[in-house]
Assembly symmetry: C2
Amino acid sequence: MTGEFALIRRYFHPPTRHTLLAGGDDAALIVPQMAHELALSTDLLVGGQHFFPDMDPHRLGQKAAAVNLSDMAAMGATPRWVLLGLTLSSFQESWVAAFSQGFRKILDAHEVDWVGGDTTAGPLALAVTIIGEVPDGQALRRSGAHAGEDIWVSGTLGDAALGLDWRLGRCPDLAPAARDFALERFECPTPRVALGQALRPLASAAIDISDGLLADLGHLLTASGVGAQLELARIPTSAAQPSGPTDSDWQRRVLQGGEDYELCFTAPSSRRSQLEALGRAGTVVLTRIGRVTAAPEERFIQDEKGQSVAVSWRGYDHFAGAA
Amino acid sequence: MTGEFALIRRYFHPPTRHTLLAGGDDAALIVPQMAHELALSTDLLVGGQHFFPDMDPHRLGQKAAAVNLSDMAAMGATPRWVLLGLTLSSFQESWVAAFSQGFRKILDAHEVDWVGGDTTAGPLALAVTIIGEVPDGQALRRSGAHAGEDIWVSGTLGDAALGLDWRLGRCPDLAPAARDFALERFECPTPRVALGQALRPLASAAIDISDGLLADLGHLLTASGVGAQLELARIPTSAAQPSGPTDSDWQRRVLQGGEDYELCFTAPSSRRSQLEALGRAGTVVLTRIGRVTAAPEERFIQDEKGQSVAVSWRGYDHFAGAA
């Protein structure tokens, strides 16, 4: 008993900022703001499935927090409270200390309170639940896109997939600077929380890119009952990518690779100048990559010659591997 | 991809009653009631650790829901929304169907909306997050007990431990009726949700009995900075128990056995007649088992001769086994 409860008390009950009762009771107590809806999301991260079990625990803590903050960003919500369910195969205090420091680092940067959770023994896994607030009626959803609107993404795509490729030994010749950048993007993604909130009056629909651009945009298109035409040459990538749009590895990483945790969103063309200004003023570039079309089944990417790029719009199936 | 997303859509997005947006987006959206606090709790259930991996999935679904509802009961909260994180070692539709039916059965009985979650592949495990509402300032906590107050429990104790004993082959001679009752209590506990809400104006502190009477009452005493004197002869047990208070197996099951999910609470003696009436009127008996004492370190159980019963007040350590 000393083990479990002592570790919970020591690392998992940090001070809170806007919470009535945190940790150590049967439930945490919070007081929601008036005239706000609450956004609720749970993400599972299983060792060997979503992260390498030997991953640096400080980075794992950061990633676990960031992945959940990204869901709040995609809704335009302000993240406020987090619950952590941690399943540990063994109790090593140094691991728990480093993990909780990484987790807290990201939460603190966004003023999110870590209010409770559960800890148990078993195969290494994380279950993070995040609760955010969004003014009544202003949440971004996947279902609001209309034909004729623009499709935008934040940041650069394919970086996390490049980091994963390097970890898997698929691109051993990657230059050190590119490798470090890609690994940082893979292991410590930056949730676009401020961007999500700024998009509330501008975007018609939004999603975060966790499963890959085409898979996640596909979810948005399905939810909105529309299609899309993308321009391959417009997809933003970083200088770390060792090849270009005609390379199949580039296409796999940039179009299908997950875990960049950028936002993909749609907006009327009347918002272009505002969005361009937002991209210039903010910390992350915004790029218009295509447009929404009326035909729900139309999912089209054209190369510079106007030819269709043959690539699957499906994402990753946790039960069947890559689909 | 067909596998994961199809199963999520088919079984995990039941209709909701009081939810703005459930499932299929980056987060669910809810509208909290005015003048209410929200109670938040996450529980992990790991296969082989908290349940037998071959447990009937319908019963497992019921138990997963009930265990979380019990946390809301202990706070005096009205359970409202649930998120389920499900890690499956393989996808068997019949298992998923039965599990989700069991899960929904308990949620429906309490009008709780299943609003989202996550599903992935990995070692079988559940992470359930529940959100409840409680009128401002009325939540029951562990920290409100005062010296001189009575200590009460609901229902009977040791039944779930008897069911576990039977499953482990420790009491092969148990009569069929006693076995069925004990297994039902072990696998399908009844969360005391209505009782928890009724206790709000009566109890000074409360906790649910998940780790065993002594361990959980111990948490309450620690949080309140008080001690306790219990009377062994008053501890309520069912007719299923095959032995009495002088038996060490009885003591282990009734005093230390977890998972009964009854409520243990404290109340001023001025509330005795109201609590007795509540027990008579409700669906579960309420029993006064001792009193709160001033000395924080005093944890005393006396038998019928007034002698102290030597038994550990510690609970189960998931990292070290029984403490």
